[in-house]
């Protein structure tokens, strides 16, 4: 007896060798299965035939144009490769990318100049939130925070690895940090050059939102979930 999922996996070319031969034999011996396989093969062929029209059609100009960067966009890839050639002190493409963000004039050296007590420190090659940002990430709930808090928390959510991540906005910077052990590892850090105090109630501009989109698994936490996560000291979830 071969189950339905195995038949379909066979149709989709998921099996090789003996397994494939075994299913093939079972199909050959069963007219009802043969009919089903024929019907589903035809469906797949029809889907691929119809949708190949999209593949072969010329790409609309508006879409090709969307790929080309506007004049005001700094090419971070070029910045990154230039930096890599120089020998990035950060190591690894991820940190090269973060370095490129810094080079792009986003936050410059300002944030590190405070040394101990500043909002960001470097530990083992990773950028870790410290000072007021760390305090807010550890203790502040989006639902109860003061409108005048120096660092405001936006969304709290889990990433694809199950770790808790939180977006935040301070007067000069905003970003996303994910819990790593007992630290908050910065995954994105952007400047808020044009913001003035009081202009960051949403805790996150579209720039931060894009990072959230690429990190988030499922939906952002609601008030109760955020509170529960705080009670659990921002522990990661077990991945099923």
């Amino acid at each position: 007896m071969i189950d339905e999922e195995a038949i379909f996996a066979y149709i989709d070319g998921e099996f090789e060798g003996e397994e494939r031969a075994r299913i093939e034999a079972a199909i050959a011996a069963d007219p009802a299965l043969r009919a089903m396989v024929t019907e589903h093969r035809a469906l797949t062929d029809r889907l691929q035939g119809a949708f190949s029209a999209v593949l072969e059609a010329p790409v609309p100009a508006v879409l090709s144009a969307a790929v080309k960067p506007g004049p005001d966009v700094i090419s971070l890839a070029e910045e990154r490769s230039r930096r890599d050639r120089r020998g990035s002190p950060w190591g690894g493409s991820h940190w090269a990318a973060m370095a490129a963000t810094l080079v792009a004039g986003v936050i410059g050296g300002v944030i590190f100049s405070g040394g101990r007590g500043g909002p960001v420190t470097e530990r083992g090659g990773q950028l870790i939130a410290s000072g007021p940002i760390e305090l807010a990430l550890n203790t502040q709930l989006a639902s109860t925070q003061s409108a005048k808090a120096p660092v405001r928390i936006g969304l709290t959510f889990r990433n694809h690895g199950g770790a808790i991540c939180r977006s935040f906005a301070a007067e000069a910077t905003e970003g996303v940090a994910c819990r790593d052990g007992t630290a908050w590892q910065l995954r994105a850090l952007l400047s808020r050059e044009n913001s003035s105090a009081g202009d960051y109630r949403m805790a996150g501009s579209s720039g931060t939102a894009e990072f959230v989109d690429t990190l988030i698994a499922g939906e952002a936490m609601d008030q109760a979930q955020e509170r529960a996560a705080l009670s659990a000291n921002w522990a990661p979830s077990k991945i099923p």
Partner: protein
């Protein structure tokens, strides 16, 4: 253009095809493609060189689409449902060319629940393997397999009745 942009440009036809597999109609599909490109360009620092750009872009597109589906789902709770019959199929006597068939299939795909539609699009149309699809959607391979059975069985029934 940088290598990244050239890579995205080269993948545009495939991204458009995937968008047509997900979206309800052609206009929505191209909107989805554009939103995906914009989001990918803004998040480009997140892409790690040496990893598959296609899988990364497919994932962004899928997330963009899910956002739209969720937003529409929320809106649907407060907005009255569309008139029944508004999306009734084409005249069956119409000439069956590839474009008409594409519209028909998109319409049938649109009736599948989102979690089945994305798996059907990725495996049957885009040709991803089960494991690749599982990685792309962050789901166990068994979930891919069972959703695919339900999705394609429902799709076959829809296509037959249409």
């Amino acid at each position: 253009m940088s290598a990244f942009e050239k890579g995205v440009e080269a993948l545009l036809p495939r991204l458009r095809r995937f968008a047509h597999g997900l979206a309800a109609n052609r206009a929505d599909a191209d909107d989805l493609t554009q939103i995906t490109i914009e989001r990918a360009l803004r998040a480009r620092m997140q892409w790690q060189e040496g990893t598959r750009l296609d899988a990364w872009l497919y994932r962004i597109m899928r997330n963009c689409w899910i956002d739209t589906v969720r937003a529409r789902g929320r809106a649907a709770r407060i907005i009255a449902p569309e008139e029944a019959g508004e999306h009734v199929g084409h005249d069956p006597t119409a000439q069956m060319d590839a474009k008409i068939d594409l519209d028909r299939l998109m319409q049938a795909m649109g009736k599948l629940p989102p979690e089945q539609r994305e798996v059907v699009a990725l495996v049957l149309i885009e040709g991803f393997g089960y494991r690749e699809t599982a990685e792309l959607l962050d789901l166990p391979i068994g979930t891919i397999s069972s959703r695919l059975v339900r999705g394609r069985t429902a799709l076959l029934a829809l296509v037959k009745e249409g």
